[in-house]
Symmetry: C2
Subunit: 185 residues, 2 copies
DNA sequence: ATCATATGAGACAATAATATCTCATGGTTA
DNA sequence: TAACCATGAGATATTATTGTCTCATATGAT
């Protein structure tokens, strides 16, 4: 069981890092290691520097979100449905999402490209849904994407507060987005 | 004109601090001073420690937001109108707002109280507007407040990006909020 | 012109965070 | 059991940040 144990320590660190850094982006490595129930040295064994940790977290966040969105979209038969499934799937990853938008990645062109591409894919999806009539064509795609992003985070916070179940939060976010930016009655 | 100069340095520091910290909460005092076009020593003359700076910023943010909201609401004749005016007035203070929600204030009970009260006032306002029929009574006040907050931030980002003028951004946020959480057609 | 005050620049010390290393331990595999 | 590996704990070094101090300078007030 070496392998599973090895992963579990690393995963505990990653999970703790998302949790701690999403609440306090300047948190020290000690805090992160402590929160993960792990020694500082162990953190450095897995991530040689703070910079590397942040890089790996960014990669992980991107990957998790892409996977979640992709998986949620198998079998859908419209862009509108894809968007809704994506929303629902991504809300529980709010801390990842938050991390991506807030953590300043310095000079890693690879990651910046990947993030840029994700943004573009989202814009395409929104535009396709707009063509299907989901959104008011008078509203800029920029705003819709912006609202989508921030409503995800709003829903995630409701989940974390336990003021809403995941299903409720996702329903509220979807309703607010689609009625709010949809065609007027 | 001593007084105006004295204020200007301090104000430049406060402005720079909001700007820099809203992008990177862990930014060093050097960065902030540099961004303000001021020596690091001068920063320490005005704010004896990082802690004090953060405290003053929090106070300032609270005060500015209260003043803006209060001023915007003179002469309104409904809670719904008050809410709309408040939204419009607060969007340009997005960085202040962001700072309030993100910066972990440690053990300053005074400020925590003030923030808590502001939250409660917002809930009351939303509830009053709900009674006027602005929002669907089936939607929890929690969610409406949450959406309100995050749409403010979304609108502010659009302003900063220059993808929307302040008036446009505020109109989009208001539309999205009210149609999104209003009574269904 | 003179004085007071705020400032910038930089030296300096104190502190906190980061990174590296060693060693003892406990669990795993062979 | 013996060898192995990841780990925790802690010592240590290296930075980065923070906070204090001094001095020369500029600017506004009188």
């Amino acid at each position: 069981m070496v392998k599973s144990k090895r992963l579990s320590a690393r995963e505990a660190l990653i999970e703790a890092a998302f949790e701690v850094l999403s609440r306090n982006p300047g948190a020290s490595l000690s805090r992160i290691a402590g929160f993960a129930g792990v020694g500082r040295a162990t953190l450095h064994r897995h991530f040689s520097s703070r910079q590397e940790l942040l890089q790996k977290l960014t990669q992980q966040a991107l990957q998790e979100m892409n996977e979640a969105a992709e998986q949620a979209c198998v079998g859908v038969n419209s862009y509108s449905e894809a968007l809704k499934k994506t929303l629902t799937a991504v809300i529980p990853l709010g801390d990842r999402y938050y991390f991506l938008t807030r953590e300043p990645i310095e000079e890693d062109t690879e990651l910046k490209k990947a993030i840029g591409q994700q943004t573009r894919e989202m814009e395409n999806l929104v535009n396709a849904a707009k063509d299907e009539g989901l959104f008011d064509s008078d509203i800029s795609t920029d705003w819709i994407v912006q609202a989508f992003d921030h409503l995800i985070y709003a829903a995630w916070e409701c989940m974390r507060n336990e003021t809403a179940t995941p299903a409720q939060a996702s329903e509220l976010a979807w309703r607010t987005l689609t009625l709010g930016t949809g065609k007027r009655a």
